[in-house]
């Protein structure tokens, strides 16, 4: 049985900071070594920004928790140098089956679009995800990146000042204090920092409970996702079966609202449920079980002066659609390059307000999607259930009803339409998917992929025309990536040119499109660079 989550991964060691006479100062402190805090810290350190990560624990997430990681977060991890190990370990699935009552109503093949380096998503236990990020952190630390991770360091108090943040921390060897220029609060849904600052976290609680059981079994089920509505073994409720690496299966039983948590969690009761679902003679080992209630909520603002919230501390969604960690990684992606430019004095602090605008837009989209899935899975009224069941009955016979079945919508990145950072969309006949505000879509390029050539800096992507190799605008550099006509493959053409014969795209360090034109225009590019860094 896998007990990675019971082994200390970053055990406590005493830091010189604890013996300092006055509070030592750090550039950026990240509170929380969950998926989001680790990704943010790695991102900053790779960009040369000094960062200290504090976690009250010294282990990876307990139990599997998140298991589905979507394509965009994998691309972000590629930029951080941690994508390949996730994909190597992860399980890829394409076939899903939907059951209603006692029968299978349909199956679907996701048939992901080709010409992307990464699959639509992978299944991977959150503990592996976090472990691989800690491994990556150790790697870059060894290479000299300015990063440090301290386990068993709990933040107890936060003082917010105009030019710094003051922290009180407890450790197994007693308390100490620190100051920093910027604090990124990645301390999870219950965010103690949010509480310390007296900030709100409003939204909707769903009156429902879900029992999650991760079991290890040598089963001959195929690598597919099975979702049951109202099955005989869990009448009136839903259930989900999903494969993870190492023969771990995620089983998810909806329980309803009025339940006895303690009773439900007794191994003999979980056993009874598992046998009813999978057959009397199954052999398995229970790795982890837990009961969840779900909420959809977010903070009104993610940035509060020098404290910036990212991940679950800023927003929480129901797990249907796997948007928690996936969207948290995109928060980090969005924030880090902006913070670096502000720290380097190349952009005004107001650039950070665009983090609020863009990530609140994304959070609202995620909350909307996950609320809709929850409504379908747990109809809130009689008529809602009547329509839900009608959709499922029809889906067995008619293809048209299948897109209405909602057992969770795949997490896709938000397109930041209307972002204050966007520049002109001046490319006639170009595809909508790569418009300003959109994350750059991957496509094969040469022996590799386009996204591997973008990120961490502004890039001027020139297709069938030319852009300068380097353009500097008041300390901000854009690097040219010119692709000769002979190198433009079918996907690159479809995804970036459409009807247009040539194009120049300005792309942000987080791989989102700023602006696009038919040809390089120096004045327009300089203006767009200034706009994308909140300098105009």
């Amino acid at each position: 049985m896998n007990r990675i989550f019971e082994t200390p991964l970053y055990p406590y060691t005493r830091s010189a900071d604890q013996d300092a006479l006055s509070a030592p100062h750090h550039r950026v402190v990240v509170v929380g070594a969950g998926p989001v805090g680790l990704a943010a810290a790695i991102d900053l350190a790779l960009q040369g920004v000094e960062v200290l990560v504090l976690d009250e624990n010294d282990k990876v997430s307990f139990g599997s928790r998140a298991i589905c990681f979507a394509k965009r977060p994998l691309e972000i991890l590629d930029r951080l140098g941690a994508g390949q190990r996730m994909v190597d370990k992860g399980v890829v699935w394409n076939l899903g089956r939907v059951f209603f009552r006692d029968r299978e109503v349909y199956s679907f093949n996701l048939l992901p679009e080709s010409g992307h380096r990464r699959p639509a998503f992978i299944n991977l236990q959150q503990y592996y995800f976090e472990k691989f990020l800690v491994d990556r952190l150790r790697e870059i630390e060894a290479e000299g990146a300015p990063i440090e991770l301290r386990g068993m360091n709990r933040v107890e108090a936060v003082g917010l000042h105009p030019d710094h943040v003051h922290l009180e921390i407890t450790t197994p060897e007693g308390p100490y204090e620190l100051t920093c220029d910027w604090l990124i609060a990645c301390d999870g849904a219950r965010s103690p920092i949010r509480g310390m600052l007296g900030l709100d976290f409003v939204g909707k609680v769903f009156e429902d409970n879900f029992l999650i059981a991760d079991v290890v079994m040598e089963a001959d089920f195929p690598t597919e996702r099975w979702f049951w509505f109202d099955p005989p073994f869990n009448p009136g409720q839903s259930a989900l079966l999903h494969k993870q690496p190492d023969n771990v299966w995620r089983i998810d039983f909806q329980l309803g609202w009025n339940i006895d948590r303690k009773e439900e969690l007794k191994p003999e009761n979980i056993d009874r449920r598992l046998r009813a679902m999978l057959g009397e003679d199954i052999r398995y080992e229970l790795e982890w079980s837990s009961i969840y209630t779900f909420q959809c909520r977010r903070m009104e603002k993610f940035r509060h002066g020098r404290v910036i919230f990212a991940g679950d501390s800023a927003h929480q969604v129901s797990p249907f659609g796997a948007r928690g960690a996936n969207s948290g990684l995109q928060d980090a992606d969005n924030l880090c390059w902006k913070l670096r430019l502000v720290i380097e004095g190349k952009a005004p602090e107001s650039l950070l307000d665009s983090y609020d605008v863009e990530r609140i837009q994304a959070a609202d989209e995620n909350i909307l999607n996950s609320t809709r899935s929850t409504e379908f899975i747990t109809p809130k009224s009689e008529i809602s259930r009547i329509f839900r069941d009608a959709v499922l009955d029809l889906s067995e016979h008619h293809e048209f009803a299948r897109p209405l079945v909602n057992s969770g919508r795949l997490s896709v990145p938000a397109v930041h339409d209307g972002s204050p950072l966007n520049g002109p969309d001046a490319l006639f006949g170009a595809p909508a998917r790569t418009r300003p505000g959109a994350p750059a879509t991957d496509a094969p390029l040469g022996q590799g992929f386009l996204l591997d050539r973008l990120g961490n800096r502004f890039v001027l992507l020139a297709l069938g025309t030319e852009a300068p190799e380097r353009l500097e605008e008041q300390g901000i550099i854009a690097e040219g990536l010119t692709v000769a006509p002979s190198q433009i493959g079918k996907e690159l053409r479809e995804r970036y040119l459409g009807e247009a014969p040539s194009a120049v795209y300005l792309i942000r360090p987080d791989q989102h499109v700023v602006a696009r034109w038919p040809a390089f225009d120096e004045t327009a590019t300089r203006a767009a660079l200034n706009r994308a860094t909140a300098r105009s």
Binding site: I386, F387, D389, A390, L394, H398, A401
Partner: protein
């Protein structure tokens, strides 16, 4: 794009109405509700046009108000 047609459009109204009711004959309330829901979904899919569907929902809603 066409507008939502709220003028008579069914060639044989009495016959259609009888057929609609006949489909519900012998059904329990729950079965009838389910049938109606399936029928609405089939018709909505046939129309497809989102603006027309919104107009239809609004027309149905408005007509039920005192």
């Amino acid at each position: 794009m066409s507008e939502l047609n709220l003028t008579p459009n069914i060639p044989d109204p009495d016959d259609f109405y009888a057929e609609l009711l006949a489909a519900h004959e012998g059904l329990t309330k729950a079965e009838s509700d389910a049938l109606n829901a399936r029928l609405i979904l089939i018709l909505a899919n046939h129309i497809g046009d989102r603006k027309l569907l919104s107009a239809a929902i609004e027309a149905a809603r408005a007509a039920g108000q005192e």
